[in-house]
Amino acid sequence: MKKVLIVDDAAFMRLTIKTVLEHNNFEIVGEAENGRVAFEKYKMLQPDVVTMDITMPEMSGIDALKIIRQYDSNAKIVMISAMGQEMLVREAIVNGAASFIVKPFKEEQIIYTIKKVVGE
């Protein structure tokens, strides 16, 4: 089972993503509510893939993406974006995000994207 770290400041989104992924045989190894915690947990848990919200307090998803990719250049990070954040997603892609999905997403969309990213 592939290990996933979920990063989002909204507990609701974390629960949603977690439920969907667990339902599709992914193992949720951790959750983080901002970029800082995400980086800490990434180092500790070494997940196969990270779902990363963009707008978060303390440290944004973009900054977290940058430092995680600096720490581990193979890190696979899927950005979870809201509508209208095109430029931020673009910045994330430039900085090595593996892919992205746009809220509100459907179950198959997120599963498909993450499976693709981890090469399943």
Binding site: A10, A11, M87, V102, K103, K106, E108, Q109
Partner: protein, 709 residues
């Protein structure tokens, strides 16, 4: 040319298929919480007359999250509304406009917040969130347009964004000689509904850069504009590549594209045809040339990130020290602690142990008792919530009222950190709101009238909370006109609530306003005075075992004191025996207990039994008579009198004997009993150490019964 494997084409259901109960609960919980924080942020900002950058950021983020979550739950009106407010705060954050009507902004945001609140209540009750926010959204858009026209400098932010991004592109090189000999044309179609097609296309270009020597596309992507996305949706994304790679390599690379629906890849035979595509498809060679994204390393070296420092900072991050637990679990825990308290009593007060010398057992039992009471205290403290959120809500109500009534009133908060059981808090918000509204609407005078009376122009309503024994007092005090005794009395007589001949104390007159069907204000306003008022307040409080006291000085102000028990679940009680039954009296109500001498009690002409204690006369209630229990103890000097007080009314209860003091867990009476027997003066029941059941007496009910008789 090939057709790509596509993601399963499932029918899109109206409700996301993975949504479940806990998710909905979490959605409601989190959104409610954010709405509350948001309100506070706005209130604080409004008081200061200015929105701090941190508040703007915070509000922006809340709106952003609400938008995302609501969209996931398919509550589209909430999502769109939150989106429009997010836009406003995005503008405030980025453009830092100087000319902002903050009061209007607050009004609009509050209106939006109220809309979301109403929808949340609907959702909570299982109704569909069918509110229409379009008018409101329109209003916000208008405000936004106005804001932009007032602050034209802010408009540059739209164009500013892409500009900064352009830096990461290298301009088309003037004259480069290419040596790659393979040319391809690819058309990529994305899955419908995958969103942000232009950025998806950009991702391909970004990844292809390393493999291609020359690369251009139609449309040129990178600005992330919606028109690009539309174009791609309609015609597909066309890519022209010059590369050394084979057809298979390029194909497999493009096949890997996420959300790829269809790929058309063809080889272009020679350079000329390739270049002709440039000219025919694109309008201008130079302009249409895609600017290649620079490699990642360049970007990093431009903006060096100090790894050490960031990692150090990150390392300092303390582990999470607060977790949220569902109230259900806490209720369950509380129940279990209650059971434990009972079982402890069952063990230590076991009838089998009576009159045995058990030194070691007693020691162990004492230790057990110590620990159980500590657990009990801890569990109770977990359930305690400060009143501050409830008080904050009152600030909001106050603000709205003052605006509507065009009256300046200040709300003073004292002791908002006082903590009360979670369940109780929910029950006092409504009564409190009512009291505040009454105070502002009926209590405080118009500003001019106040000046005439020699008072401060601005009225003050004080909201105070403090602990008093096992109760919490919540006091609403205003410095308004006070209650008019005469008017209350006339009104009460007219309404048939009291007899004309009855002589009442001041306090009793004030308490008349708590009776159903009483309202002194002839003018019904939007906020209060519909005839259902204070009696609802008092009923609501009774639900949680609370009471309300009214005090007032005419011309100087009114003071309403709500007395609420800290917690409902476990109380200190005195067990008394009446015949074969056992009753529990809350310790807090007991003033004293004593055995009267024979002949000390007397009977008044109406046949009511009384006793004189220290010069005061107290009515007596025989519990065996009241509850219709058989007992042999019928003479006062054979039993015991317990003097109890509630709402400044004192009575004496007559019981056979005292059994002893004990902590008891309050359990609601089963519905069956409620239906078959008159339980007006019982607030619940409890289990005793020996396994028998004791009924908990509601002193308030008894005192009222006696006074009304």
């Amino acid at each position: 040319m090939s057709k790509n494997e596509s993601i399963s084409e499932k029918e899109v259901e109206p409700v996301p298929q993975f949504m479940n109960e806990p998710m909905l609960e979490m959605y409601i919980f989190e959104t409610t919480q954010m709405i509350e924080q948001l309100e506070q942020a706005i209130l604080i900002s409004e008081k200061g007359g200015f929105y701090e950058e941190t508040s703007i950021n915070e509000i922006f983020r809340f709106m952003h999250t609400i938008k995302g979550s609501s969209a996931m739950m398919l509550y589209n009106d909430i999502a769109t509304l939150a989106h429009s407010m997010e836009d406003v705060f995005y503008f405030l954050r980025e453009a830092k406009p100087t000319l902002v009507d903050y009061s209007q902004l607050s009004d609009i945001v509050f209106e939006g917040v109220d809309f979301i609140k109403v929808e949340l209540i609907k959702i909570k009750n299982g109704d569909s969130a069918d509110g229409d926010a379009s008018g409101l959204i329109e209003k916000i858009k208008e405000f936004m347009t106005f804001l932009k026209s007032e602050n034209p400098s802010g408009q540059s932010i739209e164009s500013k964004k892409p500009e900064t991004q352009q830096k990461y592109y290298i301009a088309p090189e003037k004259k480069i000689t290419y040596d790659a000999k393979n040319f391809y044309k690819a058309v990529v179609y994305f899955e419908e509904g995958c969103e942000m097609e232009s950025i998806r296309a950009y991702t391909i270009i970004h990844n292809l850069t390393e493999l291609a020597e020359e690369l251009f596309s139609i449309p040129e992507v990178g600005s992330g504009s919606d028109s690009d996305s539309e174009l791609i949706k309609e015609n597909g994304f066309k890519i022209y590549v010059r590369t050394n790679l084979s057809y298979e390599k390029i194909e497999s690379f493009l096949q890997d594209t996420i959300f790829l629906k269809e790929l058309k890849l063809e080889e272009i035979s020679d350079e000329e045809t390739f270049l002709s595509f440039k000219q025919t498809e694109g309008t201008n060679f130079e302009e249409n040339e895609i600017k290649l994204p620079q490699v990642l390393e360049n970007r990093i070296s431009k903006e060096p990130i100090n790894k050490e420092q960031i990692w150090k900072e990150v390392g300092n991050n303390a582990p999470q020290s607060v977790i949220s637990v569902s109230v259900d679990k806490l209720d369950k825990l509380m129940d279990l602690v209650g059971e434990m308290v009972i079982s402890e009593a069952m063990v230590t007060q076991n009838p089998d142990l009576v009159e045995l010398e058990l030194e070691n057992f007693t020691k162990a039992a004492r230790l057990l008792h110590k620990i159980t009471s500590e657990i009990q205290d801890t569990v109770m403290s977990i359930r305690m919530v400060p009143l501050s959120t409830t008080f904050m809500k009152m600030q909001r109500i106050m603000r709205d009222m003052c605006k509507k009534l065009e009256r300046e009133v200040e709300l003073q908060l004292i002791g908002e950190e006082t903590e009360v059981d979670k369940n109780i808090i929910e029950h006092i918000a409504d009564p409190l709101m009512h009291l505040i509204r009454n105070a502002v609407d009926h209590g405080i005078e118009e500003n001019e009238e106040r000046i005439e009376k020699g008072k401060d122009r601005v009225g003050t309503v004080t909201l105070e909370a403090k602990n008093s024994g096992s109760d919490v007092l919540v006091i609403v005090r205003d410095d308004g006109k006070g209650l008019d005794k005469e008017r209350i009395l006339t009104k009460a007589i007219k309404a048939g609530l009291v007899d004309e001949t009855t002589v009442l104390t001041d306090r009793e007159i004030y308490n008349l306003i708590l009776l159903p069907g009483f309202s002194t204000n002839e003018n019904i306003t939007e906020f209060s005075g519909r005839g259902v008022g204070m009696d609802v307040v008092s009923k609501n409080l009774q639900l949680v075992g609370g009471t309300i006291l009214v005090d007032s000085t005419f011309g100087e102000g009114t003071c309403m004191t709500m007395k609420i028990p800290l917690t409902l679940a476990i109380i200190d009680g005195m067990n008394v025996k009446v015949g074969g039954s056992c009753y529990t009296i809350p310790i807090t109500a007991i003033k004293q207990s004593f055995r009267p001498k024979a002949g000390e009690c007397f009977t008044d002409p109406d046949g009511n039994e009384m006793i004189m204690v220290r010069g005061n006369c107290y009515p007596i209630i025989r519990l065996h008579k009241y509850f219709e229990v058989q007992t042999v103890v019928k003479e006062f000097h054979e039993g015991v009198l317990i003097m109890v007080e509630q709402d400044a009314r004192m009575i004496c209860l007559f019981a056979d004997e005292l059994i002893g003091q004990q902590q008891v867990v309050v359990k609601a009476l089963p519905n069956f009993i409620k239906q078959t027997k008159n339980i007006q003066s019982l607030s619940g029941c409890t289990l005793l150490g020996d396994g028998s059941i004791s009924l908990i007496i509601d002193i308030g009910g008894l005192t009222q019964y006696r006074t009304s008789k």
